[in-house]
Amino acid sequence: MIAITNLKKSFGRNEVLKGLDLEIKPKGIIAILGPNGSGKTTLIKSILGMVIPDEGSISISGKDIKNKWAYRKEIEYLPQIANFPGNLKVRELIHMIKDLHQRPTNDEQLIDLFGLKPFLEKKFSTLSGGTKQKVNILLTFMFDKPLIILDEPTTGLDPRALIHLKELIQYEKANGKTILVTSHIMHFVEEIADEIIYLLDGRIYFKGSVKDLMEKTKQKNVEHAIAAIANNTDHA
C-alpha cells in the first residue's frame, strides 16, 4: 500500500526524519506512536504531500507521489485541529467537501450516528470543541476510500462519540481498509490497533503487533510497554 524509502526531512536545523524506511501492507489498523516531536505528524503530512521531503521517496499503490495530487482521491484524512471557515454552516461545509470530491457519500447515516442534526444549520465557529471534532470525523469518514489517516481522532470526544468512533473504525477495517492512526491515548490504541509503529528520533524504533510489543518489553499493557521503551532509551 505505502512504501517509504530513506525519507529525510529537516525544518531549519531541526532534523525530524532521519532516513526512515517503512512499508505498510494493505488492510488493518496501524497505530503510529512516539513521543512528542518524534516525527509522527511530519510522516503523515509527507504521505499526504503537505510536507515536501528533502530526500527519499514515497509511493502509494506502486506510484511515486512527488508533486502529484490525484492520488489523494484515495485517501481520507482527519486533521489534528478541526478548523474550517467559520462563516459556513455545517451543512454548507459538508456540501462543500462533497462538491470537491464528487463521490457518493454516506453523510446522512453519520449525521444520525453522531447526533449532528441539530447543528446542521449552525455556523461552524459557534460549535463546541467536541462537536467540531464530530463534524471533522463526519467529513473524513463519509467517503469510501481505501486509505484512512487519522491524526489524534479522539480529541475532545465524549464517551458515547468515542464508542461510535471505534465502531466506525472497526467497520472500515472489516471493509478491508488500511487505517493509519496516531494517538497518545494508549487504551484506545490497545483496543483498536493491529500493528504498532513506534517512532523515535526520526527513525522507526519498533514495528510489530501489539503482542510482539508486550513480549519484547515484558509488560502487561501497551501504556506500560510504551513507557518502558521510552525509559530504556533514556538510559541508553
Partner: protein
Amino acid sequence: MLKILKYSFYDLMRSRWSYVYFLFYLALGFVLLFLNSDLSKAVITLMNIIIVLVPLIGTIFGVMYFYNSKEFTELLLAQPIKRSSIFMGQYLGVGFSLTLSLLLGLGIPFVIYGLFRSNAVFDFTLLLVNGAFLTMIFTALSFNIALSNENRIKGFGYAILVWLCLAVIYDGLFLMSLIVFEEYPLDTFSLIATLLNPIDLSRTLILLKLDISALLGYTGAVFKNFFGTDQGLMISLFALMLWTLLPIWRLVFKAKRKDF
C-alpha cells in the same frame, strides 16, 4: 480552482468586515457627493482617498485572511486538489470580494447622483479599474508576505511596512531625490521610479486621464511629455498588470515548495 474561489468568496461575503468595508465606501461616496455635487471634482477627491486606502485594506485583509484560514488551507491541502489551485482560489476570492465591495460601495451613490448623465463616466470607470488593480496587487503582495512568514505578528508587520513604504515613504524619498539631484536630467529616473510603485502609477494614470496638468506634478508631466496621453495610459496600465502578475507568479511558485 473555481470551487475554492467560490467558497472563499462565499465565506468572505458573509463576514462582517466585507460589509463594513462596503458601507464605508457607500458612506464615503454619499458624503463626497453631498458636499460637492460636481461629479468630476468628487472623482478627484475620491482618487486621493482610494489610492492610499485601497492598498491598506487589501494588505490588511489579505494577511488576515491568509492567517485565519491556515487550518482550512491545511484541510484543502489534504484533498485531491492542486496546490496552485488552492492558493489562487483563495487569493482571487479575497481580491474579488474586496473589489466587489469597492465597486458597489462607490458605484451606487455615483449612479444615484446621475453618473450616466454626466461626462465623468469614463473617469469614474478608470478610477474603479484602478481601485480593482490596487486591490489585486496589494492582496497578492500580502499573501506573499504571509506565505513567507509563519509568525503572524511579523507577517502583519512586514505587510504594513510594505504599504507604508509604497504609499508614503516612497514619495518622500522620490521628492527628496528630485530636489537633491535637481541639476541633473531626471526624466528617465522619475519615469522608472513611477513605474516601480503601483500607487504612484495609479495616480499618474488617473491624472493623465483627467488631464489636470496642475495636479500632474513632475512625474505626470514627464510621463505626458514622454508618452503622450494615450500611450501613457497604455503603458501605465501594462505596468499595473505586471505588478499584479509578478506577485501572483511568486505566490504560486513559493506555495508549491512550502511545508504545511
